[in-house]
Symmetry: C2
Subunit: 496 residues, 2 copies
């Protein structure tokens, strides 16, 4: 693959995706599910080669990448189960009702159908799980859509190889050619986002780039949904009770969460509120000193981190607990260890403009609050939308107000743990108010499929024409929500 897909080839790629969409809609879900499993098997079989490529292109550690590849395969299997289960179809059947309160009600049945070709902008920091065969791709495919992946320039060879392996597996399992295609280059990505045959887009990356793309999607002649997972600083609140109970455990857990993958995770805890006089400095400094140097994803990310880190450390009132290191090797790559800083609430308020933006890398700011501080108020004062808010508490602590404030600001509220290491499960919510995500929804877990469907209702359709999930004989055995006739009797029926 060249660095940039030729712009004059994009129309053909979009048309191929559109043709694939038309073919996919006629393929049974069991075949689609089997194809997802085949893709999972195929990338698992190629794990050694893929992980080696990923290590050289991203600098991430082997154990992390093997885990991420496994997560990616499991995601595909989970979505295969989701397809077969069919609950995501939200099949609804309203029986005709001659006595309905508003006059005779027709037979109306609705089901979620594929939205159409999906453009997925891959991420830098998860070369498997949020890239070519990652969660957004799996969710869109599971819903029955073809996917065009815009490769991330941070791992071009891995992207190409993963696309070859996954596309061959999908096609080998009976899905149409063109179900999964790859493009590369910023200009190509933007042009494809504007293509009329593309019906939705997903993105994982920075607020800046995500906002540009979201604006392009919204400005189309026909605006399309743009599911961006952008910025999050993931504030953590430690109650005095939690600190009294397990200070050492909290210090160790924090450093592990910040240092893992060199802090290059969208769920890295960026701010930790805790009582002033917490006495954790030594424990945090010691734990940080034990974290091995880790390469950052690429030179540009390392430069950005260095700039943000300098700006934070130069801000008035910021105290360094562990300075951490940042060096550039002969190849221009940046190598880091965690930087842990602290600031008082008043200085955070004064330094808002500098301090509050996300810092992508292994740096976290402890916010030292007065003993009588109200964490709920501080949360509302300092933070907009986030992927997560974490509460460390002890039995007997009243955190009800804090939890309500957290649920207004975040997609996931977690307790007595750390936000990194997102579970891939049916209930996971990886998304939150702006700027955590652009259009709602989650990009992790099986609920992610909901972003790539749209409901279609069929009114008084002959049985032979109805999509299978809406038939009375329910050949795919999916959950059907049935509204029987006579329901409106409670409101007085026709006489009301």
């Amino acid at each position: 693959m060249t660095n940039q897909t030729p712009l004059d080839s994009l129309d053909a790629i979009a048309r191929t995706a559109d043709e694939a969409a038309r073919a996919l809609v006629r393929i049974a879900p069991a075949t689609r599910a089997a194809a997802l499993v085949a893709a999972a098997d195929a990338i698992t079989a190629e794990a050694d080669d893929l992980v080696a490529l990923a290590m050289s292109e991203t600098g991430l550690a082997e154990v992390r990448l093997r885990g991420e590849l496994k997560r990616t395969a499991v995601q595909l299997r989970l979505f295969a189960d989701t397809v077969v289960d069919g609950a995501y179809l939200d099949a609804r059947i309203d029986r005709a009702d001659p006595d309905f309160a508003l006059g005779p009600r027709p037979d109306v049945r609705s089901v979620n159908e594929p939205i159409g070709p999906v453009l997925n902008f891959a991420a830098s920091n998860f070369p498997f799980a949020f890239s070519v065969a990652g969660g957004d791709t799996a969710a869109a495919l599971a819903a029955g859509n073809p996917v065009i992946v815009k490769a991330h320039p941070g791992h071009p060879l891995l992207s190409e190889r993963t696309a070859e392996v996954a596309a061959a597996a999908l096609e080998g399992a009976g899905l149409p050619s063109g179900t999964l295609q790859l493009i590369a280059g910023q200009e190509a990505g933007v042009a494809m986002l504007r293509h009329p045959l593309v019906k939705a887009a997903s993105f994982t990356g920075s607020v800046g780039a995500g906002r540009v793309l979201a604006d392009i999607a919204a400005a189309r002649v026909d605006p399309i949904p743009f599911y961006g997972e952008l910025g999050s600083v993931n504030p953590v609140f430690v109650t005095p009770g939690a600190l009294a109970e397990r200070a050492g455990e909290i210090a160790a857990g924090l450093v592990a969460s910040v240092g893992g993958s060199a802090g290059q995770l969208c769920t890295k805890p960026g701010f930790v509120f805790l009582p002033a006089g917490h006495g954790l400095d030594d424990a945090i400094a010691e734990a940080s000193a034990k974290v091995e140097e880790h390469r950052m994803l690429g030179p540009r990310i390392a430069e950005g981190y260095a700039r943000r880190r300098d700006a934070i450390l130069e801000t008035a009132g910021v105290r360094v607990i562990a300075a951490g290191s940042l060096r550039t090797d002969d190849g221009g790559q940046g190598w880091v260890t965690p930087t842990m800083a602290a600031v008082g609430v008043e200085d955070l308020r004064a330094g808002l403009g500098t301090l509050l933006d996300e810092c992508f890398g292994p740096l976290t700011i402890l916010v030292e609050a007065p003993a009588d501080a109200d964490y709920a108020d501080l949360l509302e004062e300092f933070f907009e939308g986030n992927l997560t808010v974490t509460v460390h508490r002890a039995d007997g602590d009243d955190v009800a107000r804090l939890v309500r404030a957290a649920s207004r600001r975040a997609g996931r509220v977690l307790f007595d743990g750390w936000p990194t290491g997102v579970a891939v499960t049916p209930a996971m919510q990886h998304g939150g108010p702006w700027p955590a995500t652009t259009s709602g929804g989650t990009s992790v877990g099986t609920a992610a499929i909901a972003r790539f469907v749209r409901a279609v209702a069929y009114q008084n359709a002959p049985a032979a024409i109805l999509p299978p999930p809406l038939r009375d004989d329910n050949p795919w055995d999916v959950p059907q929500r049935i509204a029987p006739a006579g329901e409106s009797a409670a409101w007085g029926g026709r006489a009301a």
Copy 2:
């Protein structure tokens, strides 16, 4: 109410809504449901006064308005049932699983929570059902959100009176003051759409106005979902078989659907494809001549209709089947009877720029197609997103390709009937690809509630902190989707 809510009062209104949102989240759903029923009872009790006001302000007929008020009350009751049922919460419980394929899985539980204050732009053509206490308001309230309604200038007194009646009923039933507020004026509406405390908006109206508002919502510092129901021409396809079987019935049904409410319905069938030589001219002309003159909603709408009608009738190849009438009374109001025109496929193609836009009023274009025409191809050639596509067919007709094309273009595909008269039911889908709606979803039926919630996950939350729908003892008795431990054994568990 003045014509325009003072701009300097908007911040206080938004803050009141925000306070109401914080209070609403602590109120039990049974109380919320009872409040919706109280609002339904209140507007029903005031029906005589409200309908009289609506008649004078909109020119719509009494029987239509009484039916619409009843629909509005039934909608509120339906949403009360939806609240109590709790399926819309999509409560999911993933049990902790030490043997999960990707390593120990935490306890994760997610539930749909209210999105926050909703701004609802009321419609001109449904002074009850898509206005102050209409479907969008009912759906947003049902989800637990306060609503700020921007009144439509076409029925200001009715808007004010409805808001008084409904707000008093909601408050009387225990909901916080400020749960339902009214503003007026275009400038106030736009300013409120930009207010940071407004978290979602809904709109029913023209493509032009809807696009302006959608762009404003997308351009906010924090973009919010904008659920606009904009334009639709609702194409109808009549097979030769259907025509042979029931030509007279089709002609009569068409004229009734086009003439009702002077064609001022978003589901009015704008184009009817049928075989050339259909022989329906006389039947259609006769039925049209029997439709009584009907006042249009207001002078501006009548002027717009006159312009569109002239442009269509002056287009090359357009043949008039029933000219219809259009006169202006002394008060400046327009009065109309249906205009039925016909055009060949080639002339439609040549006149695309003029003919294809929505014509808001009682005008429909018959498109006369060659005997060998492929309706699926014509549908894809001529139409973008629509609320509905209708198929009139006879037993034995193969309409599978046409139905697939229709499901790609519309939110509702209906058979052997007419798209006007939308049923308010759980399976109804009133929305479709752009420009039918802006952000997916439906604005009619109980599924409309999904637009005004967002999922929040709770990870390892103590039982006492969990929202009631996520507790093991399930105090509200809502559907819970439970993922037990051990599920990943099928993928090899930890050993995989």
